[in-house]
Symmetry: C2
Subunit: 205 residues, 2 copies
Amino acid sequence: MPKRGYHHGNLKSALVEAALQLIEEKGPTGFTLSEAAKRAGVTPAAVYRHFAGREDLIAEAARQGYAIFADLMEHAYAEGQPSALAAFEATGRAYLAFARKFPGHYVAMFESGISVQRTPELAAAAARGSAILGRAASELSQHIPAEKRPPPEMFSAHIWAMSHGVVELFARGSPGTRSPFPPEDLLETGIGVYLRGLGLIPPDE
Amino acid sequence: MPKRGYHHGNLKSALVEAALQLIEEKGPTGFTLSEAAKRAGVTPAAVYRHFAGREDLIAEAARQGYAIFADLMEHAYAEGQPSALAAFEATGRAYLAFARKFPGHYVAMFESGISVQRTPELAAAAARGSAILGRAASELSQHIPAEKRPPPEMFSAHIWAMSHGVVELFARGSPGTRSPFPPEDLLETGIGVYLRGLGLIPPDE
DNA sequence: TGTACATCAGTGAACGCGCGTTCACTGATGTAC
DNA sequence: TGTACATCAGTGAACGCGCGTTCACTGATGTAC
């Protein structure tokens, strides 16, 4: 626990906060250590009391993002239970919801260019989230007619890809590109069609 | 036509070439005008004879990318004809093939942060590619049982999203992340399941 | 309660660097006569 | 064919800038006696 009132009080999290804000506003390229320090009301040199450097600060922002993301996934999964189908659909939706609610974290995670293997903590945080999607896919897999049951890793990858694609192309409005449909609808219907293709939803529904 | 042997000869395209190489190697962030000039064997100032500045050089790289991309799409579409289904599937595949073959262009287009509305030429080049996917979707749409026919823009968006997601997450190996399946297979099966969900492929195929 | 000391978060000045961009120039190429 | 001139692609030096990072320091906080 950081001691309250000690000098700044809680510089570390203030810096992460500032970094997230900057990343959200200006993209991963626009983020600078100096500017983040300034926003936290502190000299650039002070950053080095808490982080090894610029990259390390971004990595910490990403780590927190993965942690929040995994929590959201867990929550969504649990709410969908005991229906394997509902749980699976919920995790897909959670992806988009996360990108919307935590854009700074999202960018730090997926667009900042930092490797998930940078530290064991980062890798672990990232693994936790995808493990949940994997579990949901695995359970769902049991309901697929056995004659045409793809490996669960495969369709969790499909959902992951479609979610990511919808976010990148249609939700995070790259300036000038307009989405033809609300991203939420796009993802919802896309996953729906896909699951129907797997025989998990009756075709006449 | 640039005159041969005139000073450098063809600096403009040499600069674009160098820029693409750099973007491919170091990502959009790692690209610098000075380094591109150096690789083309020329002073940084010389760049300004051909481009308005750093951004303009990236934009030109992206523009060429969109043009190549559209050509590929057209080709794939034409090869798939007269089967609407084959044409549609081919355009999806072309997306991944493009990302593989022209990684520098791909990054300039989708990860460099350049707005597609930057110039009319850029916008036009980008529009040409997506128009082809749109046409393929539109034709395919006619084969869908009318009782459940989504707007063609919607499922072209789905395929676009899944293709993009597969590329970003599994093909362009963000260092450390390993794909569980070959991206080509992933996309192929993903699109297959999706089309089955639309009733365009018989479920027992 | 009060004094002496240890800790260590944040300061402020300085650094070297490479960046994008500007400008007056030069010299190879093309053109007119 | 030869000379005078115009063009303009690329040079080289210079600029101001903000960056990430370092370092000796200072002064508020916590601790021992």
